[in-house]
Subunit: 581 residues, 2 copies
């Protein structure tokens, strides 16, 4: 009889209620069932615990006969070998590269190389780990930022055959390896599936002879400069009512959410992977022009599944609301499909259509029409781009700083601080007990008051520990959302930078006879269009930023005021119980 | 030419402004002037710094010739040898002994041995160092409890010849070695100068044939049981107006305080050593019956001399007020002398008289008269004693616990917590600066409000850091006073325990013909008197305790309420600056 041993390559933390098995890097486990499918294997660890492990997280050893006996015939492992994608695609891309650095030293011609080296979220994920402890390793009392894993990344579509292209990309990008925590909050731009992001860069659009396809996206002049065309009615939606479903005979479970658009008020059902599909489509289609923030795809390390589900739902809600607020995204066909498909058939057909959309990548700019706006010269285009880059980088630093500080504050408020108030409370009560034991007459007023004061400090301890959930949480969530958004800007701005470089080369290309003088004019005009698009997007960003920070700061301070008032009130009451002398 | 090298035996921290030199145990220093007097030598350390060092803190090496030359003739060091008291008298007494342990296992006849082993404050000082970091070593942000040293312990009386006996005891007890930090907060009971505390124990009083000398101290029956006779008018005094003086051509400086009794309102001038002299007299006279807390004789490690002087004055004030409040102490001749001597001559005569007082030690009980109170039998006496012992031990634990917690809270409030609020404040302001740099029109309301919120948190940081001085300080001071008082109880109760043991032996002594049956009756009666004295003292303690804790808790909570209200108010104002949307 054979047993298949495997080495664990990466730490994997089991999700509660999913029959998974937590394993640690370097651990040796025994494969007990390799026919699970969906990227999973069943394995047993040295303590005899059995559960599902993602196959990409382990390396199957050459088969060893059980030490208890059996023959030594080698096992054919080709099945595993051929199904084990290497983690290189995400883990090896440009570690240690600052995604912002590209633009700090971009005068040379090395741009497209730098661009190609942009990590697919890896770097951002790593940078962010300073501020946000990743799920499994963070302090249990730390703020639970986007942490580790996604519980449904591996599941195949029920209608997997509907989309060859997507199934492929899912294997490459949405695969198990993303659970390793390297998945950052910036956009996931895949070089191989994002036509505009080939090494040839944005010239696909700049020199495109094709007539523009798809809905026109207008840019107007607003009070603050170029702006998108905003709809009269601002779309929003509610993500609610998470329900647990399961498949594979209960081995794997998933959560279904209701998504209820404010337009129709008619709920549609979506699983996390549907959101992920939508994200992929939006990224593919708009990512060059609009920062599409990642989904909250990291698991929150709640000890309770309920907490996790609640947190994810809250974050999906935030993501959806942000997408709804975006005039370009929210009016897109694919987004409308997601929000208000009529039935399964409608959904499937819409999906297929969206996946075949060719106006993706830089070609999105071909649909943008600056209405009544004069062409910008290259210097202006470049200046705007530089300005946005400086701003987004500075804000990224500011937001990360606030997150770091907030996280430390969270830890203190939920850890040592309430413990200290509790000890103060206990010390008062303890002294009160001693006083009671004195046998001295007539000190009941003092001992009662002292006991009450002690209890008050214990109550304060609890209030302190619970407060971050009431205020700091939202401040952290908003800043975390912004961290995600800002993490997309190096990519978005990068496209513009690359276009500028190309336009700068135009004279040379004309001289070399590679393009015509008319092409050069077209290129310059199109760079101007791209700049208007970027300006409209920045103005959208700024207006949202002002709204969001105004709201979250108000909320934070309001709760803080309540908190301190409540403490003062409690202490006032405790004070009143002592005798006035 | 010769230089005299010396080894430093104990750490010594120089007091600011006193021309002293800090030295560390084990350090080698060079004596530069041995003719300073007053227990001091002038020395130079390896860094060339010169200053005064207490001679008891160092050990003079056998003279070594300068390495640079000179002959090798030995130097006569007999002068130093004969003037260097060993630290044994304080430092070697029963290290590691729990002062309370005596009473936990006192049934055996080993009592008087245990008693003799009572440390002269050494042990208590050590125990307390858990809760109160000693001056020179404590966290700079820690609450500055009674720490290390006394700046005037070494100075001779201007009228040193007036009292041979005291001058002797000053050399032995008040000498330089007390600066080493071993001086605790409990009573300093010197075996050699405290007649009642010889190995013969309290039988000096129990079997005394002498007629009682001195003012009668009555014990009456009050509402709560036996009580001292309280005066109609409660004495108090103000310690104020510290002034710096100096002597030895400015080499040594000291502080003079005004002490203004509420009775005469006429200030008298006293230096610290005068307070110390008073303490010694009170301890000698009343220590068997009344806990006489140590003076605040440890230096507070303020970085500024002013802070130190202020703190010491505050504590001398507390000590004096406590003594004033005690009916027996405050009406004593020596205390009255201290508070209201007419002139230098009056003071010197009074001092001499006080030092010759023979009704000291256990003999103080001979002046106590229970008025109209029935004799107590030994069982009752023993029960009361046990009860007081249990209570004072429990309260000692409770007070120490509160001090420990308070000290930690102090550290947090003055260290990491305000730093964190400051960082939050900076993060908000930083984000505001970034927002200002956006170039986007019309966000001045947000950025102004965000900057204001940031500044508010910086203000809160400062409030947090300054708050302990406003509330926790008094809570700590009061508890520290009580720690000192409670530290005296093992000694005070010990005298009673010893007396009880003696009375229990009375039958044997009668049988052996060592005492008469009439002596036995006298012993029992006197033990009853001692018990009334102890009960009166406990009732005094309880009544003061209730008053003190009521007052300090009210003060603490009142300040806490103000503090939290102020924070809420500041945040409310910050909140109001954001746009309502």
């Amino acid at each position: 009889m054979f047993s298949t041993q495997a080495q664990v390559l990466y730490d994997f933390t089991a999700e509660p209620g999913n029959n998974e098995l937590s394993v640690r890097e370097g651990e040796t486990i025994t494969i007990t069932n390799r026919n699970i499918g969906g990227g999973w294997l069943e394995a047993k660890n040295s303590r005899g615990e059995v559960g599902l492990v993602p196959e990409d997280y382990i390396e199957i050893n050459q088969a060893k006969p059980f030490t208890s006996g059996g023959n030594a015939a080698p096992l054919d492992l080709s099945f595993f070998d051929s199904h084990m994608p290497t983690p290189a695609s995400t883990a090896q891309t440009s570690n240690g590269n600052d995604p912002w650095a590209v633009f700090d030293s971009n005068a040379s011609g090395g741009f497209s190389n730098n661009w190609a080296a942009q990590p697919e979220g890896t770097e951002t994920g790593k940078t962010s780990s300073n501020a946000w402890p990743s799920g499994g390793q963070g302090h249990p009392q730390a703020y639970q930022g986007p942490g580790a894993e996604d519980d449904e990344w591996d599941e195949e579509w029920d209608d997997v055959k509907s989309s060859g292209g997507y199934a492929e990309s899912e294997a490459g990008e949405g695969g198990a390896i993303n659970r390793g925590g390297a998945h950052g909050s910036s956009m996931k731009i895949a070089l191989n599936k994002f036509p505009g992001f080939s090494k040839s860069g944005p010239e696909l659009y700049l020199l495109s002879k094709l007539p523009a396809k798809g809905t026109k996206l207008s840019v107007y002049t607003g009070e603050v400069g170029p702006v998108w065309a905003y709809p009269d009615y601002q779309l929003d939606c509610v993500v609610a009512d998470p329900k647990k479903g399961s498949k594979m005979y209960g081995l794997k479970s998933y959560i279904e959410y209701q998504v209820i658009p404010t337009t129709t008020n008619k709920p549609v059902i979506h699983r996390y992977k549907h959101f992920d599909w939508l994200y992929e489509r939006l990224l593919e289609k708009f990512g060059s022009a609009i920062p599409i923030p990642s989904l909250p795809d990291k698991q929150v390390t709640g000890r309770f599944e309920e907490e996790f589900i609640k947190m994810r739902m809250e974050r999906l809600q935030g993501w959806m609301s942000r997408m709804c607020r975006h005039p370009v995204v929210s009016s897109s066909e694919v987004f409308q499909l997601f929000l208000s498909y009529k039935d399964e058939k409608d959904w499937k057909m819409g999906k297929r259509k969206a996946e075949k959309d060719e106006t993706v990548g830089v070609m999105v700019f071909s649909t943008i029409e600056p209405e009544g706006l004069p062409d910008l010269d290259l210097t202006e285009v470049e200046q705007k781009c530089e300005q946005f880059n400086r701003f987004t980088k500075a804000m990224d630093d500011g937001v990360k700083d606030l997150l770091t500080v907030g996280n430390e504050h969270w830890k203190r408020c939920t850890g040592p601080l309430p413990k200290e108030y509790q000890r103060i409370g206990k010390a008062f009560q303890n002294l009160s007990s001693v006083f009671i034991s004195s046998g001295y007459e007539g000190e009941a007023v003092l001992t009662d008051a002292l006991t009450a004061a002690g209890k008050t400090y214990e109550e304060i301890a609890q209030m302190v520990a619970e407060q971050p959930k009431k205020d700091l949480h939202f401040l952290m969530e908003t800043n975390n959302e912004y961290k995600g958004l800002l993490g997309c800007f190096p990519d978005t701005i990068g496209v513009h930078k690359a276009a500028i470089e190309k336009v700068k080369e135009a004279d040379k290309l004309v001289a070399a006879g590679k393009i015509t003088p008319s092409d050069k004019i077209t290129m310059s005009k199109r760079a101007s269009t791209m700049s208007y698009s970027l300006q409209a997007e920045m103005n959208h960003f700024h207006s949202n930023r002002i709204y969001d920070y105004n709201r979250v700061m108000q909320q934070y301070l309001e709760q803080q005021v309540k908190f301190y008032e409540m403490i003062a009130e409690k202490l006032r009451h405790a004070h009143g119980q002592f005798t006035t002398m």
